[in-house]
Symmetry: C2
Amino acid sequence: MNVKNILAEKIAGEITLSPKPGATLKKWRNTFEISQTELANYLKISPSVISDYESGRRASPGIKTIKRLIEAFFEIDEKRGGKIINRYTSMIESPKGVIEIMEYPYSISGREFVESIHGEILTCEDMLDRKTVKGFTLIDSISAIKTLSSTDYTRIYGWSTERALIFTGITYGRSPMIAVRVHPMKPSIVVYHKPSAVDSLATKLSEYENIPLIVTNLPLDDLKNILENLAYKEG
Amino acid sequence: MNVKNILAEKIAGEITLSPKPGATLKKWRNTFEISQTELANYLKISPSVISDYESGRRASPGIKTIKRLIEAFFEIDEKRGGKIINRYTSMIESPKGVIEIMEYPYSISGREFVESIHGEILTCEDMLDRKTVKGFTLIDSISAIKTLSSTDYTRIYGWSTERALIFTGITYGRSPMIAVRVHPMKPSIVVYHKPSAVDSLATKLSEYENIPLIVTNLPLDDLKNILENLAYKEG
DNA sequence: TTTAAAATTCGTCAATAATCGATTAATTAT
DNA sequence: ATAATTAATCGATTATTGACGAATTTTAAA
């Protein structure tokens, strides 16, 4: 659970939608315990610019400016040991069994997604070009069944069901697909990470549900890295 | 739990921080199943404007523009019966016992907060001017004790501990303050909504914790209304 | 109380956003 | 295949942002 990104997004959204964006910016700068002067110096701009933003002189700052300011909050905090970020990290509970969850800022085609993780397509290959992926959830499958039965769907599906569910720690690849089958919501793609074997029931269920079943044997760290950076590469 | 506001904020934050803001805007417009033409007509602007934004011609749209676009998504969906919003509403579980939770876009002084809810100050009045309120959580106290023992603090404290916890459904005003006492996180202010009585232990605990204890007898609907709109009134 | 640091105000200017509308291209429906 | 609808491209104009810096005010520390 990448708390930093979630918090950054929360801040950005709150500023953008606020009736007083400048005051919201100031609130968060104070939350990070940064003075206007320090922020300005960090960004190599004049302190009066920060004051103008916070006072609302600029009614509609551009999103690039907002992004830069928020990134500076985090970078400055990190340079100081990350005290503020850690405060939030300790507040937010990682859902049990969910190793990582992330939304992609734009839709990625199923085909592109599977290629990026060097996935082997077991079923429903023709569906791939019709599927889009708006995020992923990396699940430790020992705990997954318990978590999937929860009624708080956002723990698994975040903000979109159009995602890839990636199950790792699989010995006999049947139970994840069964869990998906009984769940009311259906992902775009199911990925088994390094299964010892894939049960034929799993393939049948995926075909029944029209959910492509994919296998990848990348090392876990490599897989995480690719998943996290997929939407942020150049081009 | 106001899912609409949470989703709006999520969308705004994602667009603002995205490496391709235009593509993110397009993703969400498609999520709401709105064509560019319909969106443009709704906002009474030229369709080519929407296309220019989504293509990234405008690298850094102003936050007022982003806000307008997101508001239009929701309004158009609502005009169509709210199909998309309802999809999200049914996905997100309301924490048990939490009637309403909200972050304020900017800090509100303790004094101003208490005055707005016609609160009677029982303890720590001198602390009020030193306290700020960055949000509120309205709690049905029958369930609150169970919820407060959860390790997922964000269910009660959202994004800031600097908030007012408002307990309603109180008969004998002791258990909320005990729950706060044993909890590792402390709010700015504790409010009892229409208690039958306030136990002297509650007042003692509030003094010990330096948390102002407030009583309000506003009708619940009025109270909710004030709390929700406090940061959005003119001036 | 004084001093230093932090914050505010505001005139100014170059760059970019917000918007229009004409034209072209792509997609969808029949 | 054709027609209608939707989307994209791009030149042009006006309004606003992003930034500077000087002067003033406010706040915090000694």
